[in-house]
């Protein structure tokens, strides 16, 4: 009697539960994490600021020399909240404009590296054999060169093409250099995961239903490893923001527009003269963004990792 009551109760509960997808499940889990929510809000704020950087108003404000050289931060005008640089430009506006550059570079570079890493990882993991060996060779080669050196070399090489030089300003070069070096980690992860999934019954079942290789790779396996891409996107952004700054600091980044890296580069000599606000503003902006993305990446991993599913 009691068993039938229990099964009836569980059936009733089952009826009440709405169908939950993996993603909705993960989202619910993410929302329960307060810190992650805060970080998501911070990242969203950066995105909004970056979008604001596309308005002509801000573009003008960032290059206008309205204030005195090295004017101290003050409440006198909004543009002066973070002081002015050596040419009398508002640090605040330049910082906001730099957000646009940083996020544009990071997002596009990440998209490139995700595209390359995912495609190669899928192909290598699914087909195995010599294709796998080729991809392993490729990413081992890329990985054997320190990333920053490779980026510098690539930036130099891309600038070397005379015909491209006019059309490519600093930004596409940086994006390409970052994108084409950053795919190794994701490629490795996806390759391994795809190799695991390739042996799963649902892949055999899909084959038995008449699905072709491409369909199985992209429609059946890819959604099962997609969480890796999301996590990599979040953490890869951190790397891209930092690398962009490093390249700019070395004079290889974006030279024609105010980026965070340029600001730090400009400010390195000013520090000796006690002008701290420009470097402080830029580093703080980088620090907060990277911290938020890092925490968010960890939270995403917790929320999306199938091995942790159903543990709470």
């Amino acid at each position: 009697m009691s068993t039938s009551a229990v099964s009836f109760a569980s059936a009733a509960w089952d009826m009440a539960a709405p169908p939950r997808s993996l993603w909705r499940d993960a989202w619910a889990r993410l929302r329960r994490n307060r810190l992650a929510k805060l970080c998501l809000a911070v990242v969203a704020l950066y995105v909004v600021l970056a979008l604001a950087g596309f308005t002509p108003h801000l573009q003008r404000a960032a290059s206008e020399m309205r204030y005195d050289s090295y004017e101290l931060p003050s409440w006198r005008a909004v543009g002066l909240w973070l002081g002015a640089d050596h040419l009398g430009r508002s640090v605040l506006w330049r910082l906001l404009y730099g957000t646009r550059i940083a996020l544009t570079v990071a997002v596009s570079a990440c998209l490139i590296s995700i595209f390359v890493g995912t495609t190669l990882g899928l192909i290598a993991g699914y087909f195995g054999r010599w294709i796998d060996s080729l991809v392993i060779w490729l990413f081992s080669t890329v990985n054997s060169v320190p990333a920053i050196l490779l980026m510098i070399a690539m930036a130099y090489a891309l600038q070397g093409f005379e015909t491209l030089k006019d059309r490519l300003s600093g930004m596409p070069i940086v994006v390409l250099a970052l994108g084409l070096t950053g795919w190794v980690g994701l490629c490795r992860l996806i390759r391994g995961e795809v190799m695991r999934h390739r042996e799963r019954d649902y892949v055999v079942a899909a084959r038995a239903a008449g699905a072709g290789h491409l369909r199985i790779m992209f429609r059946h396996i890819l959604p099962n490893v997609f969480h890796l891409i999301i996590i990599d996107f979040s953490l890869g952004m951190v790397g891209c923001v930092q690398a962009e700054v490093a390249l700019a600091f070395l004079g290889l980044g974006i030279t024609d527009r105010p980026s965070w890296g340029r600001m730090i580069d400009d400010a390195k000599l000013e520090l000796l003269r006690g002008v701290w606000w420009q470097v402080a503003a830029a580093t703080a902006a980088i620090f907060i963004l990277c911290l938020a993305l890092n925490i968010l990446g960890d939270a995403l991993r917790d929320a999306l990792d199938p091995r942790l599913r159903g543990t709470d």
Partner: protein, 375 residues
């Protein structure tokens, strides 16, 4: 005389391993007629699943490969088709369901999305039409509230319901042959009975043939029309289900039946088959069953049937020395016709005719189905 739907002719499948080539399927021949249920029964590792997979050419291609033989669907050799043509056969003409309904469904898609995909792979229908077909096929397999279940994910369903969904997906394109690879092994007993009953009903309604892979003789007794018993990569006995259960001819089948517990018979200890299934990389010479066989020992002890003494050799099997008939160690017996509805591969079962050419094929339907009795 009807033509068989599917015919396997001397199919051999090998796997390239570090220890050399192993052959999990060797010279397997049998036929399936339309509307018939053929069961392949045998222990784990005897090659029955590999046989099923190689019909659809789903053997992972290195290391596995077909060493020889033919798989004829309506006389057309599937092994010679291009990958593109083969995709039309898979799911379209021959569908397959698997042992683990838990893992054979993709966890990130809803049941509906997966059934619709299977439909649109083979039929030119609009998305709305495909969803209607999906709903209909869920209803056909006895899932209540198919509208809602279509929107659910595999993890929200019980094992039995998932297997029903798998069957719905397999049958959505009206295949002529369904390969069921241990469809009920992962399910509990009451659900097993339901699923098998469902398969029988669907078979009656659609007239499809079923190749039932199982290790459960009870499942065979209740569902199969014709049975092939596999041992160590080969079919050792092939007969109608009535013939096989009345009068097993191969010593392996005999031993299998003796090892089933019976309710009515009181015996102190359940009979077992000594030894274990040989590893495909290390098969014994001659008849693969001789190290475990009771019949070749009895024949070695007693004189031959015709009064002539049986030549014997001494071997060591399962750690004990014993004498067995010499020909069992020397020669592997071919699968020969031993009766009108019976094939067996044993030296001590007399063949009825000299023409061994006839491949095992029986166009036979059982008289009383278990479903008929129950209904």
């Amino acid at each position: 005389m009807r033509k068989p739907l599917l015919e396997l002719r001397d199919l051999s499948v090998g796997f390239e391993t570090e220890g050399g080539l192993i052959v999990p399927v060797r010279d397997v021949s049998f036929a399936i007629y339309p509307g018939q249920t053929v069961a392949l029964v045998g222990e784990s590792g005897c090659g029955k699943s590999v046989t099923a997979l190689s019909i659809l050419r789903l053997i992972p291609s290195p290391p596995g490969r077909v060493l020889g033989g033919k798989v004829l669907l309506d006389g057309r050799d599937l092994l010679g088709l291009s990958e593109r043509e083969m995709r039309k056969v898979r799911g379209g003409e021959i569908a397959m369901i698997f042992q683990e309904p838990m893992t054979s469904l993709n966890p990130v898609f809803t049941i509906g999305e997966q059934i619709v995909e299977a439909i649109t792979l083979h039929q030119r229908v609009s998305s709305a039409e495909a969803w209607r077909i999906a709903e209909r096929s869920l209803r056909e397999v006895g899932i209540a509230d198919p509208q809602r279940r279509l929107r659910e994910y595999p993890h929200q369903m019980s094992g039995g319901m998932r297997q029903r969904a798998m069957i719905a997906m397999a049958l959505s394109c009206r295949p002529r042959l369904l390969i069921a690879d241990e469809p009920t092994t992962a399910l509990d007993v009451t659900i097993q009975a339901q699923i098998l009953e469902l398969l029988r009903t669907l078979q009656r309604e659609t007239g499809m043939a079923i190749l039932l892979i199982t290790h459960d003789l009870g499942v065979v007794a209740e569902n199969a029309d014709v049975v092939g018993v596999m041992y160590a990569s080969r079919i050792v006995e092939f007969a109608t289900v009535e013939d096989l259960f009345d009068q097993p001819r191969h010593p392996y089948t005999e031993a299998l039946f003796r090892s089933i517990p019976r309710l009515r018979r009181r015996s102190e200890r359940l009979a077992t088959i000594p030894g274990s299934v040989p590893n495909p990389s290390d098969f014994p010479p001659g008849c693969k069953f001789h190290p475990r066989c009771h019949r070749c020992r009895e024949r070695a002890a007693a004189p031959g049937a015709g009064g002539l003494p049986e030549p014997t050799v001494n071997i060591e099997a399962n750690g004990t020395p014993c004498a067995v008939a010499a020909r069992c160690v020397a020669v592997e017996p071919p699968l020969r016709r031993t009766g009108p509805r019976h094939w067996a591969a044993c030296h001590f079962v007399p063949a009825v005719a000299d023409d061994d050419a006839a491949l095992p094929a029986l166009d036979h339907k059982r008289m009383v189905t278990a479903a008929g009795v129950g209904a």
